[in-house]
């Protein structure tokens, strides 16, 4: 049995220590926000936050999480009461199929906690680990800018 702290709650999980966090979140804790996209740390659909850092949950074995705080998208808010970053994504209608979006929100959350008013280049570089195949990048960028309280209209040329 391993102890995990997720979204402020402690859970006892019956999983082997080398199990990546992604499968524990989804299959043991019923938190389906983080998604399997590649399992190789290349697409970011599994992105969650550990101790303030955005990480690939598909490559983070639970053995590394003793005493560390895990935050998933479910911990930022709900459809009825979305958190600030989630609200920005809703306001910008920043989703198509939505498969990448939980990872995007978490990556953005980690960025904005670290850097309150990032430049356009900083946002793009910070979001680089996360892929979107539907082409929703422009709205995602607009949502990050909006969540940062920056001008929501056109992006400045880099």
């Amino acid at each position: 049995m391993m102890k995990l702290t997720v979204n402020g709650r402690e859970h006892a999980v019956d999983a082997e220590p080398d199990t990546p966090l992604l499968y524990v979140l989804r299959d043991d804790l019923g938190l389906n926000g983080a998604k399997f996209g590649c399992g190789l740390g290349q697409c970011g659909a599994c992105t969650v936050i550990v101790d303030g850092e955005a990480v690939f949950s598909c490559l983070t074995p639970i053995a590394t999480l003793a005493g560390r705080a895990v935050t998933t998208i479910e911990g930022l808010g709900s459809a009825q009461a979305p958190g600030p970053v989630q609200r920005a994504f809703i306001e910008e209608q920043a989703a198509q199929c939505g498969y990448c979006i939980a990872g995007m929100v978490m990556r953005a959350q980690a960025l904005l906690t670290r850097t309150a008013r990032p430049s356009e280049q900083q946002i793009r570089d910070a979001m680089n680990p996360n892929l979107c195949r539907c082409g929703t990048q422009m709205r995602i960028l607009a949502a990050v800018r909006r969540a940062a309280g920056m001008v929501p209209e056109k992006a400045a040329a880099r």
Binding site: Q93, Q96, I101, R124, C134, G135
Partner: protein, 552 residues
């Protein structure tokens, strides 16, 4: 029949009626005109709309929400035509037990097929409800109004849909026309209602088949063949079968898979199985750079799509060109969508620019000169105008602008794209600047939904056009993960993208989901030519290919 025929008698006529209508200038048909959209295959109204005793509306569609905004758009249609608040409508999508069979959700057909069916079904349902209310209230149907599912008579009496529906059968055949509201009165259709699926997706709500959990569910992983036609010689199924949590190892011929209680157990077992597997490989793939030539040398049949000739004066100049693209893959992370008619439009719209250049004409003017469809011309003018297309604007080195237009499959939405880009001379790397599109989707249901789709299409096509090609050596596909199949990431997204919707009130819905990709590809190639003088006809327009074309 005269136009004064009452609604009731027409609607009650049923399927055996022979209708003969003389319209000015048209032929007389002996048979019924076809029903619009998917009503053709599913003509009964209650297959599409049900009204509950509490006034709740249930609508049915055989299409599915992929993130294209389908559910929201269909709800808007039903809400508008039924005069019911959107919140009152529950939409059932793609359920083999409950919804019409509308085939695949693909090819940008959902609005044309399902949207049109629901548009008419909802409108005709409203007529039936009004007729029932008229009878119950003893007034003429024309004097009634509806507000959010409640019918109001001029005197103040009301009847709600719930109580009306209890005495009404919707198990009747739809009619080819009738009952549609005047587009000028639309308040829900044509408004950018926020998508109902987004809040759940942004907060971790279950939205994908991967999120389904069934009692006693197990997890499986398959071991893929290393190359086409590889034959599995041996694999250590015994030992893997004893790994923790493994329920079964499956081997059938060369198919190899493992089922386990937990997902990670299945993954580890799959890896162990793959490590122990031995294959006999015999695939011979062509040398990657020779693949286009090889394909051209294979037996082929030309199928004329359209033959049209309009003899003109003898040619001043003949131009021919060949365009190629590599194997590309959907490379989906989650649900997948189709690639569309991307190469055809890339080729055609690049070639139109080559013709314009040979004629010494501006690319926008040239297109306007050769198109007679006014909707095409309007969309081209709108995109050019919003972009600020100015032939005489001075050129900066390594910067250019490009334009392209297409009507998706010649029956879908009209889309024109104008953009600028810069080329880094040392590397051949293209940087997309400002992208402006104009789109005519007929009667827009959700303009922001249209914009979202076209923006997405253009960014997606930018990735295909600039980067994507499946790599292979003489035996294997070597693009087995994103490092072997690079796609567009955030730093390479354009500086800005804007989409302008050209509304056509009352016009049929036109498929929009894949209308942006083809023009985007050609606009990039045309802008590359404008920036550097190099016309590149082979996709992708990778940095290497562009650098080779522009030289040192």
């Amino acid at each position: 029949m005269s136009a004064a025929l009452s609604r009731r008698s027409v609607l009650a006529a049923g399927s055996g009626l022979l209708v003969s209508i003389a319209l000015p200038g048209s032929q007389v048909w002996a048979d019924e005109p076809p029903l619009p959209g998917s009503l053709k295959e599913t003509p009964l109204l209650d297959a599409w709309i049900r009204v509950g005793p509490d006034g709740a509306i249930t609508a049915f569609t055989g299409k599915t929400e992929l993130g294209q905004g389908l559910k929201t758009a269909l709800i808007q249609i039903v809400a508008e035509q039924l005069d019911v608040a959107p919140a009152r409508i529950g939409l059932v999508t793609a359920d083999t037990a409950r919804t019409p069979n509308e085939g695949f959700t693909a090819g940008s057909h959902s609005m044309q097929d399902s949207g049109t069916a629901l548009l008419n079904a909802a409108a005709q349902t409203r007529l039936l409800l009004l007729d029932a209310a008229a009878a119950a209230l003893g007034v003429a149907a024309e004097t009634l109004t509806v507000v959010d599912g409640v019918v109001h008579a001029q005197g103040g009496a009301t009847r709600d849909y719930g109580s009306l529906a209890a005495a009404l059968s919707l198990h009747v055949r739809a009619q080819p026309t009738g009952g549609l509201k005047d587009p000028a009165s639309y308040r829900v259709m044509g408004a950018s209602m926020p998508r109902i699926d987004i809040p759940g997706k942004v907060t971790g709500g279950a939205a994908f088949i991967q999120d389904m959990r069934l009692p006693g569910m197990l997890h499986a992983r398959a071991v893929r063949q290393p190359s086409t036609g590889a034959v599995l010689l041996r694999a250590d199924t015994e030992a893997v079968g004893r790994l923790p949590g493994v329920v079964k190892v499956m081997r059938e011929g060369s198919y190899l898979a493992v089922v386990a209680a937990k997902e990670w157990q299945a993954i580890k077992a799959m890896r162990a199985l793959a490590a122990s597997a031995e294959w006999r490989e015999s695939a011979t793939l062509p040398e990657q750079s020779q693949a286009p030539a090889l394909i051209r040398s294979l037996p082929a049949r030309d199928i004329p799509v359209l033959t049209w000739s309009n003899p003109a004066a003898p040619a001043v100049q003949r131009i021919s060109a060949r365009y190629t693209r590599p194997y590309q893959m959907h490379g989906a992370i989650g649900p997948s969508c189709a690639l569309g008619a991307y190469l055809n439009i890339f080729a055609i719209e690049s070639f139109v620019d080559e013709l314009a250049a040979a004629a010494g004409a501006d690319p926008v003017d040239f297109r306007l000169r050769h198109l007679t469809d006014e909707r095409a011309r309007d969309v081209i003018r709108l995109a050019a105008d919003r972009f600020g297309w100015d032939t005489k604007a001075p050129r900066e080195p390594d910067r250019g602008r490009g334009f392209a237009f297409a009507r998706y499959k010649n029956l879908g939405a009209y889309c024109a794209v104008a953009l600028n880009l810069s080329v880094e001379h040392e590397t051949g790397q293209i940087r997309l600047g400002r992208v402006v599109a104009a789109v005519d989707s007929g009667q827009p249901i959700n303009p922001d939904g249209i914009r979202n789709q076209i923006e997405g299409a253009m960014v997606q096509a930018a990735s295909w056009t600039l980067y994507e090609e499946v790599r292979f050596d003489r035996r294997h596909i070597t693009s087995t993960d994103w490092s072997g199949y690079p796609v567009l990431r955030f730093p390479a997204a354009p500086d800005s993208v804007e989409v302008h919707v050209l509304p056509r009130p009352g016009q049929p819905f036109l498929g929009t989901g894949e209308a942006g990709q083809g023009p985007m590809a050609a606009a990039i190639a045309n802008a590359l030519r404008d920036a550097t003088g190099a016309r590149v006809r082979d996709l992708p327009l990778s940095a290497e290919r562009v650098k080779a074309a522009i030289g040192v």
